[in-house]
Subunit: 156 residues, 2 copies
């Protein structure tokens, strides 16, 4: 199994990029991981947030392999504790998925059409976080899940 | 009213420090904010995590003004959406607290004795995050709460 983090927005602010690299590197000790992104659609008077989200959703869709298991990150989804997430990771492994793709929307969130086509929707809790920070949080949680699953200490 | 973020651990990793400064500066457009810390207790064979937490809790307590409203950040607390947090902020303002102190524990969490003496316990959701990252998350959420309360756009 390999994992892909697929997100909207090509350029991360430097401290976000550093944290994404940090947790990405830690996660790669356990599982092959790719970090992918699609361009953010520019919002202006002709491009509403809704239309922008739709275009971003199409770009995201075009980058999801047909055989991959798609997990959308969205506040409407199921909220898991870190331990529950580690059990979910175990289930993905047992289900024999060749690839799991974690998908994060843009500044206005994830396109509803994309969301409805995802296999699962995962929420990071009731609070709304900036989409760039969500990359850090999901990578940290997946790293934490792997340490729980393998019974190794969480590196501080 | 002024706010204080009081946390265990004097030295932040550089990308965390940058994000704390970023959201701290944004928050200061709305409200006076101080960032304070106490030393992390070193864990070794004579100092168990439990004892270390207790000592950290005493240090935190000694830095909380008697008249301040103490909000502990802990997974055992109440979980709020960003909108609910903004309503809570409004209540703190209306209650006339001169100072609200948001308290974050160390690597093993927050001392139970300190926790039981806090006025409120706030959870960031069911997932466990590293204590350093919690500083970023609570500042971002407080900034978001202030934008909601004042009806100004969230700066992306």
């Amino acid at each position: 199994m390999k994992w892909t983090l697929l997100a909207v927005g090509r350029v991360m602010p430097p401290p976000i990029r550093e944290l994404v690299e940090e947790y990405g590197d830690r996660l790669r000790h356990f599982i092959p991981l790719r970090l992918e992104s699609v361009a953010e659609e520019k919002r202006d008077k002709n491009v509403t947030p809704r239309l922008a989200m739709e275009r971003e959703g199409q770009r995201l869709r075009s980058r999801c392999p047909a055989t991959a298991w798609i997990v959308a990150l969205d506040g409407s989804g199921q909220s898991w504790s870190s331990l529950e997430l580690s059990r979910q990771v175990e289930q993905w492994i047992q289900a024999g998925h060749s690839e799991v793709v974690f998908v994060i929307g843009g500044p206005d969130g994830l396109d509803p059409v994309f969301k409805s086509s995802a296999h699962q929707i995962l929420s990071l809790g009731p609070m709304t976080y900036p989409h760039m920070l969500v990359r850090v949080l999901i990578l940290e949680q997946l790293y934490r899940a792997m340490t729980l699953l393998r019974g190794v200490p969480y590196h501080r």
